[in-house]
């Protein structure tokens, strides 16, 4: 028996139908509900669960009562173990509480229907302590934890229940709704969750000649071996580069920037001022990876590496690292969105990306304006 935790965000997607940019603001959601809009999260979860077919009987479901999962499971005739009785109107706090309780009750995976906001809540509650799988039902879907469609989500769940699926880290991203309403797109990296490695792009464990971990350890080895003495290494955010810090046996700031010299940590979670101070007079390298499905190498999760920092270090001292599988997923190349259009244009061009130990792939970066044109 596989213990499957299930969470439905009962307000996910409401904002989209109502023409809002998201469903994070409880007041806007309440208004949308009064206007007769409803969430399709449960219906989407139904589609995913149905894909399990006879494998449903090999699962023990755990969920919260009512619209957060219990209603749907009862309707589908699936018995479940209740971990929480939510209030009539649910908020992010209920998602987080349910997620923690599912984890404590021994769930081996949490499948959830929602959007980026829900993913953030899960990330905050359980992080990478167990795999999660998102069924897209929200307005904003920027995080890498979601299946492409509910059907595809069901397929991944089916593979996971049958066994033999590896897991990997995926970014949890969200955009700033307030800024978005003003017309600014600012996606932010909030953290990482573990997901089953079975998406259309990753192809799943059955093909796995390589695991994600092996590829990352090769990248880390390559970077560490190439490190020069008395040179400042500005290690950007992201799980790819966490492997570099692991290889150096240094503590890592997953969502921030660390400064390393002679394999010693000079400053963790550095801000722009820290970096500019450290940069005084010494040679330096910036080590970045691509964040999220959009391929940002600057401007997502590494804002301390500002235009001033980049200009001081120089374009020729930027090292980019990413697994081949990640690059294959980035069909449109990298994007630089530093906040300075001039610099973005300067950063465009080919980078010799480190994809493994003594393995590289030239990969193109475009300035943010061009990328939006092409997307």
């Amino acid at each position: 028996m596989k213990k499957v935790g299930l969470i439905i965000n009962p307000v996910a997607g409401i904002g989209g139908r109502a023409g809002l940019k998201g469903s994070d603001d409880p007041q806007l959601v309440a208004q949308a509900m009064r206007d007769g809009f409803h969430s399709e999260a449960a219906a989407r979860m139904w589609i995913a669960l149905e894909r399990l077919g006879s494998l449903m009987r090999q699962c023990l479901f755990l969920s919260a009562d009512g619209p957060m999962g219990g209603d749907l499971l009862a309707e589908m005739g699936l018995p479940y173990q209740s971990v929480y009785q939510p209030p009539v109107t649910t908020t992010a706090a209920d998602t987080m509480l349910t997620a923690r309780r599912l984890h404590n009750a021994g769930a081996e995976l949490i499948i959830f229907a929602g959007g980026d906001g829900t993913a953030r809540d899960l990330c905050a509650a359980v992080g990478c302590s167990l795999p999660v799988l998102g069924i897209p039902a929200g307005v904003k879907i920027h995080s890498g934890v979601f299946a492409i469609t509910p059907l595809a989500g069901g397929e991944i769940l089916r593979l996971w229940v049958s066994g033999g699926v590896h897991t990997m880290d995926a970014e949890v991203m969200d955009i700033d709704e307030a800024a978005f309403i003003r017309g600014e797109v600012r996606a932010k990296l909030y953290g990482y969750c573990r997901i089953p490695m079975a998406g259309a792009l990753t192809q799943g464990a059955k093909t796995g000649a390589y695991s994600e971990e092996e590829a990352l350890s090769g990248i880390a080895q390559e970077i560490v071996e190439s490190m020069r003495p008395d040179t400042l290494y500005i290690i950007s955010s992201g799980s790819t580069l966490a492997s570099v810090m692991d290889a150096l046996e240094l503590p890592n700031t997953l969502l921030g920037v660390d400064a390393v010299m002679n394999k010693q940590l000079l400053k963790d979670d550095a801000n722009e001022k820290d970096l500019l101070k450290l940069l005084c007079g010494c040679p330096a390298k910036i080590v970045v990876t691509a964040i999220g499905g959009q391929g940002h190498i600057f401007g997502r999760g590494n804002q301390p590496i500002s235009p001033r920092v980049i200009c001081t270090v120089g374009k020729e001292n930027i090292l980019v690292a990413a697994t081949k599988q990640k690059l294959i997923g980035l069909r449109k190349g990298f994007v630089a969105d530093t906040g300075s259009q001039e610099l973005d244009a300067l950063l465009a061009g080919y980078y010799r990306v480190i994809t493994g130990y003594q393995e590289y792939m030239p990969f193109r970066c475009t300035a943010v304006g061009d990328a939006e044109e092409r997307s």
């Binding site: 894909r51 077919g53 492409i148 469609t149 059907l151 595809a152 069901g154 397929e155 089916r158 049958s162 066994g163 033999g164 590896h166 259309a200 792009l201 192809q203 799943g204 464990a205 059955k206 093909t207 796995g208 000649a209 390589y210 695991s211 081949k324 599988q325 690059l327 294959i328 061009g349 080919y350 010799r352 994809t355 003594q358 393995e359 590289y360 792939m361 030239p362 990969f363 193109r364």
Partner: protein, 521 residues
């Protein structure tokens, strides 16, 4: 009346034997063959055989080999073969990139039974090996003509071994010129993975080029990494996708302009035999897999040969021994070659592969070889056109352009529509008596991929039957997907769980290792 093969699905049922491992059949004392004791005369001459082995290398205990009588051994392996798909029982269109053409049986009879070949030994004095040496010499001349290269080595036993030999030749060449700083090779994502792996094993850093939107290697990306550090480019063309790179000459010329060499992986040259040559494209080194293009069986059915061909300026570096024709007309083996990279294989390689190749070429002649390529490409056009009409199948890149001898297809659409993907279809395919197909080399770029290559051997009936089965599989996926999900239904083994393959804690490569793990013996 003849069958309509486009609608004929075979009611295939594979044998299913609940067969033990050979080790589990072992009964102490049983023997398959009673080996006669050495004669007194032989003993007198050489003494006890065991004493000729240095004491440090001698076993103290007999090896734990299975002890099984002859009939049971025979039975065992016949049963296993009945549980295996075979190129001799069904058209093997499924193994795209492998070039699974039919290998005429006369070649097998010669190699397996003809005493003039079977009974020679590489340790014999070379004057008693004149026949096989002549065949090596003549086959080299034939391949020179087909490829435009100036010399060949038949020592590498596989394509990857050939590729490794090639990387060693590249290094020897640059070193001979005092050019020792070149430590990078460039390949493409749709070249065979050994074009990256073999040079990496030989110590090179590897730069891989992605494809552009049209499905060709990105030339701009190539130029961005080409430098005085580049030792060579190692590329396959047409690539895995079956797409021929129209800029190939530009790639080669740019490499040469930078002082790098150009290596052409022609393991599968089936689309261009007798039509185009590596020499005219400017390449310096190539390898042919005799066990693909030149009709030597492979895929567990026979030892291979990755024949490496070079232009004259690289010939001095070829591995030893060289097969030469002496001034008196006799053939010999030359090992005194100061610039050679040395040995890459014991003795002089897999002679059986070379003999089969010689026979195949001589049976077909120049026109026949060209016709093989033409038929191979023609078959592929027919298959591609039919496959593209099947619901759920798509072909990535280069829309409207022809592929040469193979195509990488995708079940992406079917997966989105039905949840049935390439791994599911591959399992179900076997229920129709066809071999599970090759999906893709790594890493997977095309989603839900599968790669088919119909070679020159298969008839229109074979192709129609194959397409018919895929049409039926597509119908099943959209109308009764559970049949596919629970497949295979008519084969020796059912669906295997793959997780152990990736789990080094559980994976055991030998029976003895498994015993140690699980029985603590």
């Amino acid at each position: 009346m003849r069958r309509d093969y486009s609608k004929h699905y075979r009611k295939f049922q594979q044998a299913r034997w609940d067969e033990e491992l050979i080790f589990e059949l072992s009964v102490p004392g049983q023997r398959g063959v009673l080996v006669p004791a050495a004669s007194q005369r032989a003993l007198k001459k050489v003494g006890p055989a065991a004493e000729r082995i240095p004491a440090s290398l001698r076993r103290r205990q007999a090896p734990a080999l299975p002890e099984v009588h002859q009939m049971r051994v025979n039975c065992h392996y016949m049963r296993l073969s009945e549980e295996t798909m075979s190129a001799d029982t069904s058209p093997d269109i499924s193994e795209g990139t492998c070039t699974m053409k039919y290998s005429p049986k006369v070649q097998e009879h010669m190699v397996a039974h003809n005493p003039n070949f079977v009974e020679v030994h590489p340790c014999q004095p070379e004057e008693t090996l004149q026949g096989i040496l002549e065949i090596y010499f003549r086959t080299e001349k034939l391949l020179n003509e087909i490829s435009g290269m100036d010399a060949f080595s038949f020592l590498p036993a596989s394509g990857a071994n050939g590729c490794y030999t090639g990387a060693s030749l590249v290094r020897a060449y640059h070193n001979s010129r005092g050019d020792t700083e070149r430590d990078e090779i460039i390949t493409t994502i749709f070249s065979h993975p050994c074009d990256a792996a073999a040079p990496a094993t030989a110590g090179y850093k590897v730069i891989t080029l992605m494809v552009n939107d049209e499905g060709y290697p990105d030339f701009e990306a190539y130029k961005s990494v080409l430098s005085e550090r580049t030792a060579a480019i190692f590329i396959t063309n047409p690539e895995d996708t079956g797409i021929y790179n129209p800029q190939i000459k530009d790639f080669v010329d740019a490499a040469h302009a930078m002082g790098a060499l150009a290596y052409y992986d022609q393991a599968n040259a089936n689309g261009m035999l007798g039509i185009a040559r590596a020499r005219e494209a400017g390449f310096d080194i190539i390898h042919y897999n005799l066990h693909k293009t030149f009709s030597t069986p492979h895929g567990g059915m026979g030892p291979g040969c990755g024949a490496v061909g070079v232009r004259d300026f690289l010939a001095p570096f070829l591995p030893i021994p060289w097969v030469i024709k002496k001034t008196d007309g006799a053939y010999g083996l030359k090992t005194d070659c100061p610039q050679s990279i040395g040995y890459v294989r014991q003795f002089f390689g897999n002679a059986g592969a070379v003999l089969r190749t010689y026979m195949w070429i001589m049976q077909l002649g120049a026109d026949g070889i060209r016709e093989a390529a033409v038929c191979s490409v023609l078959n592929n056009q027919y298959l591609m056109k039919k496959m593209a009409q099947i619901r759920g199948i798509s072909i990535w890149y280069a829309q409207g352009k022809r592929r040469l001898e193979q195509v990488r297809y995708s079940f992406e659409q079917m997966k989105m529509d039905t949840g049935i993907g390439t791994a599911d279809i591959s399992r179900r395919l076997v229920d129709f008596g066809l071999e599970a197909y090759h999906q893709s080399h790594h890493p997977y770029v095309v989603p839900e991929p599968f790669t088919l290559e119909p070679c020159e051997s298969y008839s229109k009936d074979d192709l129609d039957e194959y397409v018919g089965v895929f049409t039926e599989l597509s119908r099943e996926a959209y109308e009764e997907p559970e049949v596919i999900r629970s497949a295979p239904h008519h084969t020796a083994t059912h669906k295997l769980k793959c997780e152990a393959v990736n789990d080094y804690e559980r994976l055991a490569c030998t029976y003895q290792q498994w015993l140690k793990r699980h029985k603590q013996t």
